[in-house]
Point group: C2
Chain length 333, copies 2
């Protein structure tokens, strides 16, 4: 039997159940207070004066455990900000302000400094001020360091219409694992390799600590030019996140060869392909859904910003998420 995310300790079905409970509580509070929630694909927002604002929180997951063990913690701060900014940018929001939360097992001032340097680099890039944060020193509760960020965003961009059959799905390259699937990755790879071992032409540590790609500027430019109908930051849940924007429709995607590191995880862990696409970004950190007439303009802007892309396929009638791999293997999610 191969490795699964569940065997590594993360049950995605239970995770969705938690989200569904949260959704009910969220709507209960809003109803009780008489406040209208605006539901986006990946965010919720409200009106505040002349602004539509969203508040969004996400953490770096157990990528921080690898960063902690090697002292290379700047990437954790960077990812924390970029992950949130990418999420809200997919729904048309740009970040205004943020806070961080760091739970740490020791009084390690140097570690905190490194995380904050990473936060600074990403925050200045994204144009968001850091308004505060909390460091909780909790030796009994945390094994190393856990970092999450909260970002306040304001509506800047609007989508270019509703997603419909025939729309084109474009995939934009990721920079590796980004910040997802680390609980599975650690179980699979660290049982076989040391962090200093060479894998796929580089030390494993370098593969595992590559920073998450910042898609904020790209999304602003695409949305401002009214090119994009929906954008999906491929994070937790992998390709299944596409469902949140296609509703009852489906997609048929011809994906490129996944980067070597994903192939190694699959092979060493004997992980099913479908599980891989449910957990990882598989080399595609962002998906865009665009009307056919806008594919060329979209592609040009992606290239201008120095990113690679693939035209993956189309939106179709129903049928969920259909992935055709270069090896001829077909994955349905």
């Amino acid at each position: 039997m191969g490795w699964t995310y569940e065997k590594a300790g993360v049950n995605l079905a239970k995770h969705w159940e938690m989200h569904s409970i949260a959704r009910e509580i969220i709507h209960g509070i809003a109803n009780e207070l008489g406040i209208r929630l605006i539901e986006g694909g990946f965010t919720r927002s409200i009106n505040l004066g002349n602004y539509e604002i969203t508040l969004h929180t996400d953490g770096v997951g157990t990528k921080s455990m690898i960063a902690w063990s090697t002292g290379r913690l700047e990437v954790v701060g960077w990812d924390c900000v970029v992950g949130n900014v990418n999420d809200i940018a997919c729904d048309g929001f740009t970040p205004v302000a943020l806070t961080d939360y760091i739970a740490i097992s020791s009084n390690d001032v140097g570690a905190i400094h490194k995380v904050l340097v990473g936060i600074r680099d990403a925050a200045t890039k994204a144009g968001a001020v850091l308004l505060g944060g909390e460091v909780a020193i909790m030796p009994d509760l945390v094994n190393g360091i856990d970092v999450s960020c909260s970002v306040l965003g304001i509506r800047r961009m609007r989508v270019a219409g509703d997603v419909r059959v025939g729309d084109v799905v474009i995939g934009v390259e990721s920079n590796g694992l980004h910040m997802n699937g680390y609980t599975l990755t650690r179980k699979v790879l660290l049982g076989r390799y040391g962090l200093e071992d060479e894998v796929c032409g580089d030390r494993l540590i370098n593969w595992l600590l590559r920073p998450t790609t910042y898609y904020g500027d790209l999304l602003i430019k695409l949305y401002d030019n009214k090119l994009v109908k929906a954008a999906i930051h491929i994070t937790g849940g992998g390709f299944t996140k596409v469902r949140r924007v296609i509703g009852d429709l489906g997609v048929r995607l011809e994906v490129p060869e996944p980067p070597c590191i994903f192939e190694v995880i699959r092979e060493v862990g004997n992980v099913e392909w479908s599980e891989m696409y449910r957990v990882f970004n598989m080399g595609i950190g962002l998906m865009l859904i665009v009307g056919g007439e806008y594919v060329d303009d979209t592609a040009r802007i992606i290239k201008e910003l120095g990113l690679n892309y693939w035209v993956l396929g189309k939106v179709v009638e129903g049928g969920g998420i259909n992935i055709l791999m270069p090896n001829g293997f077909n994955v349905r999610l």
Copy 2:
């Protein structure tokens, strides 16, 4: 040698050092982006359209470990929201929206539900919508559950002038430990007592899981009536937090007998009184600094909201924080 917070694993000096690094990074980002930060006693804010907004993050600390071990997790959600709301209300902000972040060691849907119920109760009380959150299932990183919240607040109230010599310090009762000093409390008390043991006339578990008092409505009423010059939510750092609003001035406080549970912690752990006032709220969850002519009106409103208070003392020239205890013992912080 008695117990100290440091011996329990939390070095407050290092914690301040972390905050000071954070402050530098925060101002670096704002300068880089050309955004003006407004510094409050316990918050930072910016202008956004017609609003002055703050974003604030705080966690529940290791109180969650006791809640986790007993399954009584609603209090963790409640505290998470109330702690943040009390903090921002001290600086004149009322909450608009919030998010939560939960790191948990297992796929425990029931635990998440209980935390969210506590969040709902506090959020509806405080008038803030929950816009989202994250549940991170990380068996290798977290021992139980860690919960933090981020709150977006808007400026509603203004202080009634600058703090000056002769102003009166009023203390408002806490409901017990609230959410601070649990790493020390656990080390000291759980080495001696079981959670079901009777201490101070109740089971220890009940003392340790009492919800944090919500001071939001009180602070709104006091500020709206222009009665208060400064308010301090006594949390991490205990009475030393007063420094953040008195600058170079000092305070002389005649404090009441601390509630029994604090006396037990001190006695069992052989903790210095000064350490107690540096770590715990000692029965006073909120301090208010008011002009002498407003003491009666302030007291009336506190009583109207069903809370007890003490006129603790006055603001004086320099000399830091001077605490005179009923037993005649004098603590200087």
